[in-house]
Each structure stands twice: as structure tokens, then as C-alpha cells.
């Protein structure tokens, strides 16, 4: 056949392939649009049609949230799914932490400790799943047991708890350890309450209890939600929510600046200056309840001397660190637990101010003295420190490197993937690395995890008799006041021993469109993306 004549059909086939491919994309868009239309229709036919008093009538009724990641599945027992479902108002737990760190009931009505090992939880009598089924004690037990069976991440929160239904509205919780804070444990996102009898492979069959119902879902791309008309409390003012996955952090910044999204979540601190210059967005930068911490390998001879560890802490200008590495959006903490709002009084309990002279004295006492070039030496060896960083902590590492260099310490930075830190920990070949663990939870569990010889987060191998004794006393404390006092004492004592160096809570940067009102900043990122008071206003 003539080759020229064949070219035309080939071109036609190529165009048809492109057309076919675009059809798929279009179909997805049309489906999504169709769902939105249906949701809008459902919303308009309802008494509360999404127009809250004071809202701009011409304002959009679809809230678009650009996030680093969205749910990969609909089943709350899949990894992280429950956190996303709670964040966008689809799922609820029995309790939640308010922005001040106080535990408040959500699906529960109240909780009472009957004795050291028993709690009784009354359920909200109005609470219902989307299907209309009541959230009664049997349903709650079934949900928690399903999570226990299928979600490994829930284990730390309920492994010591046994649930049983006393009656339809009362749940009894037996604890294996005495004086456990059950409401606190049941405020973690992994304990999301869902209808255990429902199937979680489709938006039509899944059954949660939140103020928004999922109406369309494309895994790791987009989730669409509409108001749950049977919701027991104040219905949200905004009719629909779209949770979109935009993995690139700079694109999320541009997304909110362009108006394509109204909330852009998990933004880099480096974008703060750019966002502050724009009047179309406001910034929410409440630091998370975690502490950026330098973990020291106490197996290294140089760090076995407490004076060296203390010198490293005295020689850090935390305010400067925050300015350089967190754009000023955090506050200094010198003890590990004090990034938790409940222990705010311990923020500067030790190493109250930047004191390089004190650091120098301690290093001199430890035998590390400066040579002619200012490098501290001992037995002919320089004082070196290799600091491993990951994620967005490169600037933090470099600022620490500079500050320690002023003391005569030769610090080098190794920036890379977190798995490199894991590998170094497994081999034991490391000096120091930066990590930020959550400090919100039961103080005994948290401190034991970090500082007891068996603690999974005790990477440096800290083993101190006094610290162990304080932790044991904390475990046995029977009332809230003594628990708090003992936690503070242990926290301060450990900070003095400096097995780790606490720096500041890691800031969370969220940009909110100025057309949106009612966004609540929260130290727990999964608690706050959506709330019933959000509404659109004229900018």
C-alpha cells in the first residue's frame, strides 16, 4: 500500500487514542460534577441548605481543601484513613482534644472513673450513623473490636482496655493498668467509631457518624462530601467539601493563592514569607504538640559525659533556631514534654537562656579544650558531631552546626531520607539525629517510651536510676494532680541529664483563604480541617 496513504489512518488512530484517553478523564470529571450536582440538589431540598446567617449569598458553597495526602481507602481500619476521615468531618471518635489540650466528649456524653481499673462512658443519646442506626454501646464495642482486629495502629491505645456494653447508652471499660486515662486514649484517631456491620468498599455502603457524608471517592486523588442531614448537632454552614490530594507542597501554596482551594494544608515553612505578603490568605501556624529533638547516641564515649551533653544544650540559641529554621513560627522548649499544652510551664525549666559561656565552662571541665584554631580537643582528638537530618530539617541542622561551631565543636550535617537514620540506628553507627515525636498523650506512656531502658524511642540508650524511679512513681500515681507533678519532675530531671536536646515544637503551616471564616487552629493536625462553624464571607 502507498505509504503516504497509510500515514493518514495512523494519524487518525493516534488522535482517536488521545480522544479515548481524554474521555476517561472527562468521564471522571463529569461523574464528579454529577455527584456535586446531586449533592447540591440534596442540600437545597433540606431545611438547612448551607446558607448560614451572615454568609455571602454569592459565595461558593463548596469548600476545597488541598492536602499533601488524602485517604487511600474508605475503611477506617486502613492505615491513616481514620485521621483523614476525622479531619474532613466524616468520622468521629468518642472524645477529642480541644485546642487547649482538654479532652471533650464527642460521641460520648460523659466519662467517669468508677475505680482504678474501671471507667463508665455514657454515650450521646442523639448520636446516629449516616444510615440512621443508633451509635449505642453495642455498636461502639463492635467498632472498637473491629479496629482491634484489623488495625495494628490502634493497639497502643486499646491494648490494655476491655470494652463491654452495660446498657444501650453506657459503655464500661476495664483497664489492665491502674489509673489509665481512658478518654485520652479514646480521643486518638485510630479509635474512630464506625458501623462494624457496614461494608467499606463503596461510598454507598460505608457508615460513619460525622457531619459530612462521603459522596464520591477516588483513592489518593479526591474525596467529595456533602452535609449529613441527620447530624445530631449544629449542621455545617458549607454544603460540600472536596478533599484533594496535591502532593507537591509548592503547588498547594499556589493552589490557595490562585483561589483553586480554600485551605492548603501541610505547607513548608519556607512558604510563610510568601503567604504573609498576600492579603488573599491568612496563615494558621500553631505548632504541633511535638518536640524537635536532637537524640544523642550515649554509646559514644564523648556523649557519656553529662557535661558534654549539657554543654550542647546550653550552647544552642533556640530563638535563633526558630527564626532560621521555622520562620519564627514556634517557641523554644528546653524540656521534652513541654510542647504539650498541659505542660507548658516546663518550657524553660532547664537551660533557661542561651549561655555559650556556661557551655564553654562545662566543656573545659570535661577536658575538651580549644586548640590554637578554636577546635576543642581531648587526647589529641577533636570534638566532632555528625548530625543526621531528614525532611524539612536541613536548615535546622545547619543552624545547629553553626551554633556548635562557635563552641569549638566540629559538627557535620548528613541530610537524607528517614530510612538512612533507621539504618544508622540499627548499626549503632551514629552520633546524633533530629526527630520530633508527639508529646500529647499519657505522660507515663510517653516518658517511658522515650527514656526508660526498654522504651522504643530511647534511641540513645539512656538508663538512669533516678529517672527510672521517677517513672515508676509516675506509673503508680493515683490522682491527676500527683500524676502531673511527677511527670513534671521526671521531665525536668531528664532534661538536666540531657540524653536528648529539646529545641521547639515543629510548626504546622496551613493557609486559609480570606473568604473563609471560622477555621480553628489546632495542635493536632487531624482535628481541625473542617468544623461546623466554617463559612464563606466576602473578603
Amino acid at each position: 500500500m502507498n505509504r503516504k496513504k497509510l500515514l493518514l489512518p495512523l494519524l487518525f488512530i493516534f488522535v482517536m487514542i488521545l480522544w479515548g484517553c481524554s474521555g476517561g478523564g472527562q468521564a471522571a470529571s463529569e461523574n464528579a460534577a454529577g455527584n456535586r450536582a446531586e449533592a447540591a440538589q440534596a442540600d437545597n431540598s433540606a431545611p438547612n441548605s448551607g446558607e448560614a446567617p451572615g454568609t455571602d449569598e454569592k459565595a461558593p458553597q463548596e469548600l476545597v481543601i488541598a492536602d499533601q495526602e488524602i485517604a487511600a481507602a474508605l475503611d477506617p481500619v486502613q492505615p491513616l484513613t481514620s485521621s483523614y476521615l476525622i479531619a474532613i468531618g466524616a468520622g468521629e471518635t468518642l472524645f477529642k482534644a480541644d485546642p487547649e489540650g482538654k479532652i471533650r466528649p464527642v460521641l460520648a456524653d460523659s466519662a467517669e472513673a468508677i475505680d482504678a481499673n474501671t471507667w463508665e462512658i455514657s454515650l450521646n443519646p442523639e448520636a446516629k450513623f449516616w444510615s440512621g442506626k443508633k451509635v449505642d454501646a453495642e455498636a461502639v464495642v463492635a467498632s472498637l473490636e473491629r479496629s482491634r482486629e484489623l488495625d495494628k495502629q490502634v493497639v497502643p491505645y486499646i491494648q490494655d482496655l476491655t470494652f463491654s456494653a452495660v446498657n444501650a447508652s453506657t459503655l464500661q471499660v476495664e483497664t489492665a493498668r491502674e489509673n489509665m486515662d481512658v478518654p485520652l486514649n479514646l480521643s486518638s484517631y485510630q479509635t474512630l467509631i464506625h458501623n462494624a456491620e457496614a461494608a467499606y468498599d463503596s461510598v454507598d455502603t460505608m457508615d460513619l457518624s460525622g457531619m459530612y457524608k462521603v459522596t464520591a471517592f477516588e483513592p489518593q486523588k479526591r474525596m467529595e462530601l456533602a452535609v449529613n442531614e441527620n447530624y445530631r448537632g449544629t449542621k455545617p454552614a458549607i454544603a460540600r467539601v472536596v478533599h484533594e490530594q496535591i502532593s507537591d507542597e509548592q503547588t498547594r501554596v499556589l493552589s490557595v493563592l490562585s483561589g483553586a482551594s480554600h485551605i492548603a494544608h501541610k505547607l513548608p515553612v519556607s512558604a510563610i514569607e510568601q503567604l504573609q505578603a498576600e492579603d488573599t490568605v491568612t496563615l494558621a501556624t500553631t505548632p504541633a504538640s511535638n518536640t524537635q529533638t536532637v537524640y544523642l547516641n550515649l554509646d559514644q564515649p564523648k556523649f557519656q559525659d553529662v557535661r558534654v551533653r549539657q554543654a550542647l544544650s546550653w550552647g544552642i540559641d533556640r530563638q535563633e533556631l526558630i527564626l532560621q529554621a521555622a520562620e519564627g513560627q514556634s517557641f523554644p522548649v528546653t524540656t521534652w514534654l513541654s510542647s504539650n499544652p498541659a505542660f507548658a510551664e516546663a518550657r524553660s525549666a532547664v537551660y533557661a537562656q542561651y549561655d555559650p559561656e556556661q557551655a564553654g565552662r562545662l566543656l573545659d571541665e570535661a577536658g575538651w579544650v580549644p586548640d590554637g584554631s578554636g577546635i576543642r580537643m581531648k587526647n589529641g582528638e577533636p570534638l566532632t558531631l555528625s548530625l543526621m537530618t531528614w525532611g524539612g530539617d536541613r536548615a535546622l541542622g545547619e543552624t545547629l552546626q553553626y551554633q556548635w561551631a562557635q563552641l569549638g565543636i566540629q559538627a557535620e550535617i548528613q541530610h537524607g531520607d528517614y530510612s538512612l537514620i533507621e539504618t544508622a540506628r540499627e548499626t549503632g553507627k551514629w552520633d546524633a539525629f533530629i526527630e520530633a515525636w508527639s508529646t500529647f498523650g499519657e505522660p507515663h506512656t510517653l516518658l517511658t517510651g522515650q527514656y526508660s531502658p526498654e522504651g522504643g524511642g530511647n534511641y540513645g540508650g539512656f538508663d538512669d536510676a533516678r529517672a527510672n524511679e521517677l517513672l515508676a512513681q509516675l506509673e503508680g500515681a493515683s490522682d491527676e494532680a500527683s500524676r502531673h507533678a511527677l511527670a513534671l519532675e521526671a521531665n525536668t530531671y531528664i532534661a538536666e541529664q540531657a540524653p536528648v536536646i529539646s529545641l521547639y515544637p515543629r510548626p504546622q503551616v496551613t493557609a486559609v483563604s480570606s473568604t473563609l471564616e471560622g477555621f480553628v487552629d489546632h495542635f493536632r493536625p487531624f482535628e481541625n480541617l473542617v468544623n461546623e462553624h466554617l463559612k464563606f464571607v466576602s473578603p
Binding site: 487514542i17 489518593q220 526498654e454
Partner: protein, 320 residues
């Protein structure tokens, strides 16, 4: 003919087999434990050592990570023979279904980007060659150097800033519709254009220096017609480049897909890397290898079809 087809098929099979082994090993050589990641890093500090170790062991067994690499490879290869790419560690969905959902978006982006790249490459390359040595030619070459030296993510973000934020001509989102196609396609097309422009320019200049062109011109044939003839030969030599560009767009658009939140295979691979999702990465790698092999075979076939001299030379060589 039949023998040649069989030989090509066997070569292809060997290539895919060798690539699958290399990719399988490379994915596992990367540091990090997918089981630890899936359980959640918090568990390491929230649980005592024994409980954590027990849980990790159970998780590794569930994920099929307990045997040797060889047995894991055999298991995966066995699944492949049953047309099963496995189940994603992270989403618990069939990898084949997930790739199937994203493949059209990637083909759409790659195809459109290729059209843009070829269009720009042919037009500007031809103009540059026809005006060789002039200011226009210098500007084109300078532009090519500039464009080729700026990383793709910078161009992508600058275009987003200009067209989505400042001019409001483009909507940032996560859907793969036609309205969202043009900017990532333009970016990807622009990124590949300098190479195409330079190849077209160089080849056209070379063709224009050929005796047949000079004699055609001296016989009074119009310049446009002569250039038309020369361009046919230039097109032939750009087929390889087009094939390579398409391969790069399908397998390597990770950055562009991520920046534009384009839900294609590149973004899927990125998610797979973040979650150390071996089945997802293996599936992505296999599809990429198959695409690359498929495109190369097509290019080879096109060459033979478009340039009969190749077949003739091979026949002559066989006779000798």
C-alpha cells in the same frame, strides 16, 4: 520473516525478564522497611520491644516479605503469569486496577506533550535551519540552551504561578480532564522541545547541503518544494527521538505529574516510593519497561517501513 519475528519476540522477552530482575532488586535495595512504615513509626515507641517485634513479624508475613529475595521474585513472577500484579501494601487494592485507572491520564499527557514537542521542534527547527547564521537562528539556539538548562520543576512552577495565580487561566486541581491538560502538556512539551529543535535544525542543514538539493535548486525547483523533500528525510531521522521522548514522558513525568497534581503513573510511582509500596513500584516499573520496549519495537518497525533502503541493505548483506 517468521524467523525474524520469533527472534524479536525472544529478545523482547529476555529484555523484560532481565529488567524485571534488576528492578525487583533495586526496589528492595533502597533503605527502609515497608512493614515498619505500614505499622506506623509511632508503634515503635508506643509498644514494648517484644510486642512490637511480634507485630512486625506478623506484618512482614502478611506482606510476603519473609522469604529470600529469590522466593519473593518467584512468587511475583508466578503472579505475573496469572496476569496479577499483586495488591498494594498501602491501599490494599489490586495494583493492575490502580495502574489501569491512571494509565489513560499518563498516555493523554504524554501524547499531547509529544504533539507539542514535535510541533515546536519541527517548526522552530526548520525556521532556525533556513535562517542559519541570522539573529533568529542565534536567538533560537540561545533559547534552546536556556530551556534545556532550567529544571522541569522550575518551569512547571513558574508557569503555574503565571497562568494559575497571576492570570487565572488555569485551575489547579487533582482531576484529569481536558481543561487541566494543556499546562502540564505544554510544560512537558517545552522541556523536550530544545532537543527536537536542535536535531531538526542540524539534520535539515545537513540535508540542504546534499547534492540532490543543490541540483534540484539549480534546475529551478522552488525552495519550498525542495525544503519539503528535505524535510521528509529529516522526519525520518527524528523518529528515534520521538520514540525516546515518548518513553521519557511515560516513564519520567513523575515531577511534572506531581507539580500539576496530574493523576497519572508518575504520581502513582511517587506515592509508591513514599510508602515503600513494593507491589505498586514493581507494577509501575513493569508497565514502564513494557512501554519502553513496545515503543522501541514500534520505532524500529517504522524505520523499516518508512525507509526501504534498510530492508534492501539487509538483504544485500545476507546475499553477500
Amino acid at each position: 520473516m517468521g524467523r525474524r519475528l520469533l527472534l524479536t519476540f525472544l529478545q523482547t522477552l529476555m529484555t523484560v525478564f532481565a529488567a524485571s530482575i534488576v528492578l525487583f532488586a533495586l526496589i528492595r535495595l533502597a533503605p527502609g522497611d515497608p512493614a515498619k512504615l505500614l505499622i506506623g513509626r509511632t508503634m515503635e515507641i508506643a509498644l514494648d520491644e517484644r510486642t512490637y517485634a511480634k507485630m512486625l513479624g506478623e506484618m512482614r508475613t502478611e506482606m510476603g516479605l519473609t522469604g529470600s529475595w529469590f522466593s519473593q521474585y518467584l512468587s511475583w513472577a508466578g503472579s505475573l503469569l496469572r496476569m496479577d500484579l499483586g495488591t498494594s501494601f498501602y491501599t490494599q487494592r489490586a495494583v493492575a486496577a490502580e495502574i489501569g485507572e491512571r494509565l489513560p491520564a499518563t498516555f493523554l499527557l504524554a501524547g499531547t506533550a509529544l504533539l507539542i514537542q514535535v510541533g515546536i521542534g519541527l517548526l522552530i527547527g526548520m525556521l532556525s535551519a533556513l535562517h542559519a547564521g541570522t539573529l533568529l537562528d542565534t536567538l533560537v539556539r540561545l533559547g534552546c540552551v536556556l530551556l534545556a538548562s532550567v529544571p522541569g520543576f522550575v518551569i512547571g512552577l513558574l508557569l503555574l504561578l503565571a497562568l494559575a495565580v497571576k492570570l487565572e487561566l488555569y485551575a489547579i486541581g487533582s482531576e484529569a480532564g481536558l481543561s487541566r491538560l494543556w499546562l502540564p502538556a505544554l510544560t512537558l512539551g517545552l522541556l523536550g522541545a530544545p532537543q527536537m529543535i536542535r536535531v531538526v535544525r542540524a539534520n535539515l542543514l545537513s540535508e540542504l547541503g546534499q547534492v540532490y538539493v543543490q541540483s534540484a535548486l539549480s534546475r529551478g525547483l522552488g525552495t519550498r518544494r525542495v525544503v519539503g523533500h528535505a524535510m521528509r528525510n529529516v522526519l525520518l531521522s527524528t523518529i528515534t527521538l520521538i520514540g525516546l521522548s515518548l518513553t521519557a514522558s511515560i516513564s519520567g513525568a513523575v515531577v511534572i505529574e506531581s507539580i500539576f497534581a496530574w493523576p497519572g503513573l508518575g504520581e502513582y510511582a511517587l506515592n509508591g516510593i513514599l510508602h515503600k509500596d513494593y507491589p505498586a513500584l514493581q507494577g509501575y516499573a513493569l508497565v514502564t519497561v513494557l512501554s519502553v520496549v513496545g515503543i522501541h519495537l514500534t520505532v524500529e518497525a517504522l524505520y523499516v517501513w518508512l525507509d526501504p533502503r534498510i530492508t534492501r541493505r539487509k538483504k544485500e548483506a545476507a546475499h553477500e
